[in-house]
Symmetry: C2
Subunit: 185 residues, 2 copies
Amino acid sequence: MVDDQLKWNELERRTVFDARIFSVTNCLCLSPEGERGSFTVIETNDWVVVVPVLDDGDAFFMVRQWRHGSREMSIEFPGGIIETCESPLEGAARELREETGCVAGKITKLGVMSPNPAIMSNRVHFFLAEDISVAGDLQPDKDEFITAERISADEVTRGVGSPPYIHALTATALCFYMRLKQQKV
Amino acid sequence: MVDDQLKWNELERRTVFDARIFSVTNCLCLSPEGERGSFTVIETNDWVVVVPVLDDGDAFFMVRQWRHGSREMSIEFPGGIIETCESPLEGAARELREETGCVAGKITKLGVMSPNPAIMSNRVHFFLAEDISVAGDLQPDKDEFITAERISADEVTRGVGSPPYIHALTATALCFYMRLKQQKV
């Protein structure tokens, strides 16, 4: 079995840094050939990304905000950190409500991925939100300044890979959506 | 202009943790309404992801490896960290050669994204590699145990979102590839 020739085994893991939103661990591992290696892993909660479709799939509800990591404006699908007390589906509905003011009649799972399996421990859960209706004002967190807007699916598809469509996980979500559309043809 | 009502300004940035492959900074920023906020950012080199197409686009060359972040096997497009001395295009050609043993007659840019604009400073550069030929054995890094294999585009497209197709940036790259195919139809 090829996987057995590639698999490492973890011997020890210790936290070396703790931030508010993630921690960093050093993992001592044993290689498939029995050699020791040390790897740095960012440990954090799972995330959720929601694709809210409008107009029978011709448009999306997107969120515009300043991003402190990339230090630029970003237009992206709603999403965020899943709270410890909630399921991925509950997190999807909550982020949709907070960041776009909308509720969805139907939310379905698109897939689960690792944002970066090389250095991050967590997963991202992707959902499709349909039968969208506006429920009220946005409910941003204290330090969130965001707007929500309807953008055509064509514009988002053409735009990914250039500012302001810079968020890789928005393109990951779009990949799931494009696959779904292909299956329906 | 709506962006001016969303944009934060950085007042101060200091490194609070330094790992081998990334560092962590605390950024003190001024909100659009003049309030102070502190944000944690992971600073690291840019990355590259390469989509090596075979059989006129019916298949890809993919890399199978154990991933220490997600602690599972992953099948993904070749890619990695761009060295300080090289361009994104040079990094793409090097990672392709090291991880698949192949060289490409033609490498074209697909797009640039932020792997996570919320908490990461770096960018990921995506490339399409065509006219693929095998140049020799794989050249993995000392602590890399990898295999390369031809996998049909259909299998990868169906598979993303489930193990072993867990790498979000592989689906981001696939999004670019699907867009390219759509444009050619």
